[in-house]
Symmetry: D2
Subunit: 352 residues, 4 copies
């Protein structure tokens, strides 16, 4: 097998849980190789295993237990690709600096998601939004750019809506989520709050879904993204589940297709990452379930390394026309895996 | 304190979990006293403690551990009031016989819920549906009657919709439920199916909610109940919660009231059971929560002995106008407690 | 009913979860009335409802939502009785000051538990250890004293061992615990650590059980407490349970009594709090279960307001002679309720 | 890669959960190939997917969805190797018939476990017990034989005790288990019994552990197995965990070795399946954890396909000398995986 030179990458915020997910997914990645693990000043200079309490399954530290952490600034942590697992505050400050100096910054933070010139990228859904990078070059004079992946709940939702929008046109969406505790990071949700309970509130979550969806399905114009004319109502809940968001979805589609037509549109969808065979792209972006009680989060969410989404129970909705159950992996497809797939798309498009 | 003579009652299906809930709530009831505990042939003649594996908290057997079980037929188990905890099959056969011979049968089964002449009774919501009893007398020549309480999910929902229907008029309803395992009785849901999981399917549950709601909010006419013109879409899920159904609700109300007006309509509601001071009626039928993350099922559902419902997070819905979180006790308000409250209403109205 | 003047008390650390439990149990207490709610400097001057996120069931703030918090020092928070819900650090500093100035300090902290002159008090077990107060008067020149309640796991265990020690003499003890998450306070155990999991480690817990037990069952001598000659091995685990510690216990008793004799010794035990009828004492200190699969924590632990312990499955142990299942409430009997019962004992003994 | 002819095998009780585990593990097995899937009369003649509700993760039906089920008798289901997932009743009747006609029957049932001439086989522990097959030939005149794998809890325990018995000699054992719900099969444990609960009773489980251990560690003599002189006390509990039994173990070892010596004995153990490289043997039979809070069932149990066991927290025990935490997979190592490893051992030893 021919070996190519891999592209060096940085992980900002490498000691947190999202950072760990980046490290785990980047170990043995065919295109990328970790050059810098960056963390806060307090941790820099330490070995990864000393500064980081590893929380994931599988080989601890992704084989980098002896890697020495560096400061998360452009002097110490520059790479052509920067994966950012930073919180909003540090992300606001640091990500633009890396972009200015030429890095493509693939960010999990919400800091710049709604900025007009920043792509809210899901490779299966809106690969053409990559063109917004040029806006950033022009507008800010940056050599690099910031590319965000959306909120995890919105990511899962848009994966099912995109083929329906292409096939029929989505007009209205109801989405009630039952979300895993991992979405709140570690230590995150206290066991006293969630054991045997449902919490009907996740701060800012409903707002994020309602505003990010129209941007993702929007059209790139010379002035930036024009939002799609879709009205969404999101109702978000935390449930005692470890990984994976279940979403109960109803949609009003143009032309009122039947459940069978909807099933076929989802099944037939073969977007660009699957056509290009990107390394992290699942073979089928949507797994359709015909059993009457599937998908089920605990049984289905780890399929395809958490990169596909699951649809089942496609049936008529008395109000909007079609309803179905949707399931996706919040910390893989909805976080680290999503960012890495974004970088793979940028690479395939020759942007590196 | 003056003591009145209590009305003797029968519990059909006394050994099951719903039967046990009847027994627990009827121990020390101010109006009713258990005369007969009826069970299948296999158990009749045995003492209650011998035939029944008690599954509830509190004093086992409601003080009736030595009570001898009888056959569930009209020869052995007749009383003026019969509470039926039977499954659909036996209910279809036995309930009409008791009604024919003069009993008021308060049933938890779904067998006759949608029959035109049978009231689907929630005392706070449609006390006037009691008039349907006369239809049964005329139509079947019965001396008694069958009165059903609705499906547990529908009961909780109608408690919040009734005051809104009275104040504004309900036009459309979205309801996504996250339901407790106790709704499936014992042994019911296998732990292998629900630990750390969400099951997006409960057989017939969505259909029941969608058809029972319009009947409960309908109008009694000389031809029976005229369904209310409300369109409902129900999406039902099982979650790892012991008791209590959480419902994410969106409603389209006539005249588009504000969240504040909706809150006030719910708060001000004082229906007949509260006016009459029925023994099992909670002081306020709806508890309104102003904390941003309440109601929560584990923390709130046992309030008022499970007889009130809880509403919180009343907020604008981009699609239907108003959305809120709703919570109620599926096995108290939604089963045994609801039936007993029905009997109390019938008693207060002089129907006994 | 005659009304007596109640004794004013202080709660130190009133805003934490243990503090809240004190407040909830002291609302409507027949002997004590809350005079001061003390908290850290940051909170003092605020109303209780402003400074405290109430985490418990039942009426929030125990009716004291408008009570103004004071600093936790002897100038602002002095009372004849002080209940301390402080962490070890502040407890080490503040509790002696209150004791010096004359308060009886009933502490939940571990700071002084093993001090020779401090009683590790469980009223049913070692009421005579109250005599250690005089040591404190003499030794430190204090007008008041510090009285500790033991670690929650040790408290539950000693409740079952005390009657066996009195009846037979305890020689060796094996104790494997399965402990509730509430023992780690709020937010305490992350849901990511405990959902569907067993964690075989609770810091210092095994050591505390192994050293506190012999002190509690020890004898007061002129030199302080002489430890009982009992060897204990504790193996502690966290399980996904909300309230209540389950303990699997094996004991070697002098004279090798039969399970029947052990059951009788536990049943017949009627220690001082029950003889005196202390307000928080449960009618029977030990509830014995004869069902083959009880006690069960979720079903039994709230019995008697969590103040009794439960024993079941008393059977022969091939190694030590007797084994049984033990259950008790870690945050009621093992924390706030235990401290208040201690104060009630001190009151009944005329120490106030 | 050279392809060898695979040995045809039968799965008795193929539609149950244990049967499904056999099917899943035997799909793509390098030595064995499924010839017959046998089930009760009611299912025979149906396709596997029609007769069986698949409950496991991964590809449903192990690729055999169209396989036609046969009756579980020797006329229809004979193979050189028979894996039995039958319940005790049918196992008692059918397994001897297959053994008589020449099959090696690898059984999960408890029916013949304690029979003197039947090996209770764990390949790492007592491969020499295979010699008991000759007893069966002589004693019963069978051409084949029955070989049992032990109770799941006992299997996990013996994996840790065997190297200690070899290195030092085991004298006494305390074992408190916290067992997964999957041990009770499907539907098994009701969610109403285990959510947020600990059940301190599993029928016959303690007895099985206490009697099977000495047999497994016993010596084969001309009269059958001579039990090892080890006294065991088992205390068994069900906890809300899906897969994997956690065991808190204390042992008295000959010569009182230190924790370090114990750790080294466990680490150095390289028994026969690892020496032979049997296909289902994990690379290391025991994984030793040095983190203070590991092993944890949810995080560690799926390691090595569930075929290794985990030991951590090796520390001094005040009573018996050494205590540690032990963890193993009850339905892989403790059921289907264990039986298949037994068959691989028999094959390697030339018994087929």
């Amino acid at each position: 097998m021919t070996q190519y030179i891999k592209i060096p990458v940085t992980v900002l915020g490498a000691t947190g849980v999202v950072g760990q997910r980046f490290v785990r997914r980047l170990a043995n990645h065919p295109l990328f190789i970790i050059q810098h693990l960056a963390a806060s000043e307090r941790s820099s200079g330490k070995r990864y295993r000393e500064a980081c309490a590893w929380r994931l399954d599988g080989e601890p530290y992704g084989g980098l237990s002896e890697h020495v952490l560096v400061d998360g600034d452009t002097d110490h942590a520059m790479s052509p690709i920067v994966f950012s697992a930073l919180d909003t505050g540090p992300a606001s400050e640091l990500e633009p600096k890396f972009a200015e100096k030429g890095a493509l910054v693939f960010s999990n933070a919400s800091a710049f998601r709604m900025a007009k010139e920043v792509p809210l990228l899901v490779p299966e859904v809106n690969p053409d939004h990559l063109r917004l990078i040029e806006f950033q070059h022009r507008h800010h004079g940056w050599k690099g750019a910031i590319l965000c992946n959306p909120n995890c709940t919105a990511t899962v939702l848009v994966m099912a809506l995109a083929p329906l929008h292409q096939a029929f046109g989505v007009e209205q969406v109801f989405m009630t989520s039952m979300q895993a505790v991992s979405g709140a990071n570690y230590p995150g949700v206290s066991s006293l709050d969630i054991l045997g309970n449902v919490v009907p509130f996740i701060r800012n979550e409903e707002e994020k879904v309602e505003e990010e969806l129209p941007k993702m399905l929007g059209r790139v114009t010379p002035e930036g993204v024009e939002m799609a004319a879709i009205t969404i109502s999101a109702l978000c809940h935390r449930v005692p589940v470890l990984e994976g968001h279940t979403e109960a979805v109803s949609v009003k589609l143009h032309g009122n297709p039947t459940p069978k037509q909807v099933r076929e549109a989802l099944r037939a969808w073969k977007p660009e990452p699957q056509q290009l065979g990107l390394p992290s792209a699942p073979p089928m972006p949507i797994r359709i379930h015909d059993a009457e009680d599937r998908p089920q989060v605990r049984r289905d969410v780890e399929c395809d390394g958490g990169m596909s989404v699951h649809v089942g129970r496609i049936r008529p909705c008395p109000l909007l026309g079609i309803k179905f159950t949707l399931l996706g992996h919040n910390t893989e497809r909805g976080a680290a895996g999503g960012s890495i797939l974004n970088a793979e798309l940028a690479h395939a498009k020759g942007l590196l």
